[in-house]
Symmetry: C2
Subunit: 275 residues, 2 copies
C-alpha cells in the first residue's frame, strides 16, 4: 500500500484481504513497519535478509521512501547461487564470470585464470629465495619432507580460512568475533598439530626408518607450521573484510603461499636448533 | 487438489480461484500435470528443481502418488545454503557439520578436521619417496623451485576442479559432457602452461639470474605440470561423480596431493633429459 506521495505505508496479502471484515479499511488490515530494501542495497545483503527472515517477497523503495518495485524470493535464489559460485571461484583463484563453463570460450577461461596463476607463481619467489639461501642447512634427508610439510600447512590453513570465509558470508561470524575465532583456532591448532606430529614421528621412525634427529626436526616443524597456518587462515579473512577487501580472495591460494614460506623458515630454524 | 484416493490431481492458486468464473468447476481452473516431488527424493535435487523452474511451492507425494505435504521456497533456500556450505567444507578437507562455527566446541572442530589432515599427510609419503630416491638427480639449484612448481600445479588443478565441481552441483555440467570438458581443459591448459612457462623463463634468466639449463628445466616442467594438473582437476570430479563418490571430496586437497607427486616425477624426468 502506498500513500498519496507514493511512499510505502504497509503491506497486505490477498489472503488477508479475503479473510478480512468486508467493512474494514485497508489501513486496518495491512501491516505497517514493513521490512523493505533500498534501491542502493547490495543484492547479496538483500538475499541474506530473505534467508534470515524466511520472507517470500520484499518491497523496494528509493531514497524518498517511494515504492519502486518488489523483489520475490525466486530472484533471491538465483542471487544466492551466483554469489556462492563467485565466492568459490575467488577461493580457487579464478576471476568470477557469470557465464556457464561450457558456454565460455577457451580464451575467456584463460583470461579468468592466468592473472592469478601468474601472481601466485611470482609470489612463490619467496620460497625459492629461502631454499637457495638455506640449501646447506637443509641437508640430506630433510629436503624429502618439504612437500609434506608445505601441504599439511596449506591444508590446515585452508580448513580454517574456508570455514571463516563461509561464516562471514552467511553472517554467522562478524569482525567483533575476532578474538573468539583466534582463541578457538589456537586451541584447534594445538590439538591438530600435536596429533599430526605424534603420528608423523612414529611413522618416520618405524615406517620410513629415518634417524631420530630427522624425525624430531620434521615433527617439531609440523606442530609450528600447523599452529601458524591455522592462525593465519582464521585471522586473515576477517582482517581482509575489516579493511574492505574481499575475504574470499584472501583464501586458500594466498594463504598457501604465505604458509609455504613460513613453513620453510620454521623448518630451517628448527633444523639449526636441533643440529 | 486431490481425488478421492488422496492422489494429487492438480493445483490452483488463491488468485486463480478468485479470478475464475464463479460457475466453473475446480477441475477446469486447476492446472494438472503438476511438477511434484517424491518423499524419497534427495533434498538437494529438489532444491535444484525450485531454482530451475522458479517455483514458490511444490507438492510432495508418496510412492502411491498420494499428497502427503508441501515444500515452500523458504525451506529450499536453507537447504541450498546448507548444501553449498557442505560442498565448500568438503573441498577444504573438512567433515561437514551443521552447527555454526562459533557454537561448535574445539573438540568437535578437531574431530571434523584431523582425519583429513592425517590422511593427506600420509598420502604425501609419495612425494617424500620420490625426493629420497631422486635427490641426486635434483642437484643444486633445482630444489629451490620445487615449492613454486608444486604450488602452481596445485593452483592450476584447483581452478579446474572447483569450476567442474560447482558446475556439476548446479546441473550445468553432466557426465555426458566429459569429452567437451576434457577438450576445453586441454586447450586452456596449453594456453596457461605456455604463458606461465614463458614468464617464468624470462624471470629466471633476468631476475633470479640462474643458468640457462636450470631455467629450461624449470619452465618445461611447468608446462607439463600445468597440463596434467588441469586434466586431472577437470576429469577427476566427473569420474568421481559417475562412480558414485562425492565430487567435492575429490577436490583441491586430493588433487594437490596427486599433482605434487606428478610434478616431482616430471621435474626429475625433465632434468635427466636436459642434463
Amino acid at each position: 500500500m502506498i500513500d498519496n506521495q507514493h511512499r510505502l505505508d504497509g503491506v497486505v496479502t490477498l489472503r488477508e484481504l479475503i479473510l478480512a471484515d468486508p467493512e474494514a479499511l485497508v489501513a486496518d488490515v495491512m501491516r505497517a513497519n514493513v521490512i523493505g530494501v533500498n534501491t542502493h542495497d547490495d543484492q547479496e545483503q538483500v538475499a541474506q535478509l530473505f534467508s534470515k527472515y524466511d520472507m517470500l517477497a520484499m518491497p523496494v523503495v528509493d531514497n524518498e521512501e517511494r515504492l519502486v518495485g518488489i523483489i520475490t524470493i525466486d530472484d533471491v535464489i538465483d542471487v544466492l547461487q551466483e554469489e556462492t559460485t563467485e565466492d568459490m571461484e575467488k577461493m580457487a583463484a579464478i576471476t568470477p564470470s557469470d557465464k556457464p563453463y561450457l558456454r565460455t570460450s577457451t580464451l575467456e577461461i584463460w583470461k579468468s585464470r592466468i592473472p592469478w596463476l601468474l601472481l601466485l607463481m611470482v609470489s612463490a619467489t619467496f620460497t625459492s629465495m629461502i631454499l637457495m639461501r638455506f640449501e646447506v642447512a637443509l641437508s640430506t634427508g630433510l629436503i624429502a619432507f618439504i612437500p609434506m610439510l608445505m601441504d599439511t600447512g596449506g591444508n590446515s590453513g585452508s580448513q580454517s580460512s574456508v570455514t571463516i570465509i563461509r561464516g562471514l558470508s552467511l553472517g554467522d561470524i562478524e569482525f567483533t568475533d575476532l578474538f573468539r575465532v583466534l582463541w578457538k583456532e589456537v586451541r584447534v591448532a594445538v590439538l591438530c598439530g600435536v596429533t599430526l606430529a605424534l603420528c608423523n614421528f612414529l611413522k618416520l621412525l618405524f615406517f620410513d626408518r629415518v634417524g631420530m634427529h630427522v624425525a624430531a626436526v620434521v615433527s617439531l616443524t609440523l606442530i609450528c607450521t600447523v599452529f601458524f597456518a591455522k592462525i593465519v587462515g582464521g585471522v586473515l579473512p576477517m582482517l581482509a573484510k575489516k579493511l574492505g577487501f574481499d575475504p574470499a580472495v584472501m583464501a586458500s591460494p594466498f594463504i598457501t603461499t604465505i604458509v609455504d614460506a613460513m613453513s620453510l623458515l620454521i623448518y630451517v630454524r628448527v633444523s639449526m636448533l636441533i643440529a
